[in-house]
Symmetry: none
Subunit: 84 residues, 4 copies
DNA sequence: AACGCATAAGTAAGAC
DNA sequence: GTCTTACTTATGCGTT
């Protein structure tokens, strides 16, 4: 493919390096935020809430109500199909 | 279970709501960063680099780094095992 | 700690190597089974079932009925607490 | 969605049940192997090795292996990019 | 018994 | 559009 000639083209090398560094920096930030989230869960746990359930709450709030209901209905159907 | 009595305790409700909102805000930020990363890939692609290759480069660099960290951790564990 | 002296004791070395190999072999087998499970999901998907829901079915069957109900009740309480 | 009509179709019910059982059986086997691995660790611990260290050794070996594979994959991608 | 870690499951994005 | 691969989330295990 035709990406800029690497290895014989210092300008392209520099450019690529720059892209890679930007990505790595962003990934670093993302990781930091993930840690912050974990901290919130651990704080909430330490004051007595059930972290597992709170995770479900967060997830459900993200889902559209319709989707939620459709999924619940399908699950119900399958459970009956397998005899539960 | 001994989580704060919810339902008859507006203070606990408010607290839980606050935790949930903090989490949602943080997840929002995380999502934004993930989008930024995708944008970098698309930018780099648009100037002629092969995104797939760059992804592998980033991955490899990360693995190398982790490898070094794992080695250091192992050494550390050895030292502790030996009483240092 | 007092694990057998490694590095100056070839018997201990051999023993450790043997343990490590046993573990690696077992992990290999575990990986194979995980692949088999994935294959079943993809087969069931190919004949029209919703793999995501089937996963939930499997998970729910594993849970005790009581636990299931207790969890559902708590989830409900939390959802109300945050105004859903 | 177009999954087989469940609930009014005993053939589909039977099929789903069969899939679920296959999965459950496979998960059982996987669980057994996980137990075997734990046993090896406990055996090795009982003869004086430090399980924590051995875990790290296993992990490191795995990472090294993955590293090599990732490198090979990158090389492969380069070659393809260049038309080989 | 709680805490953090490490593995495993589930979900979503990207390649072909 | 399918299919795989990568990332994220979640659970369980070992440790303190």
């Amino acid at each position: 493919m035709n990406q800029p000639g690497i290895g014989h083209n210092s300008a392209a090398n520099a450019r690529l390096t720059s892209f890679v560094q930007r990505i790595e920096k962003l990934e670093e930030e993302k990781k930091t935020i993930a840690e912050d989230i974990r901290e919130v869960y651990s704080e909430l746990k330490s004051v007595g809430f059930d972290a597992k359930i709170v995770r479900k709450v967060v997830k459900l709030r993200k889902m559209d109500k319709e989707d939620r209901e459709a999924e619940a209905a399908l699950l119900d159907t399958y459970l009956k199909a397998v005899g539960c």
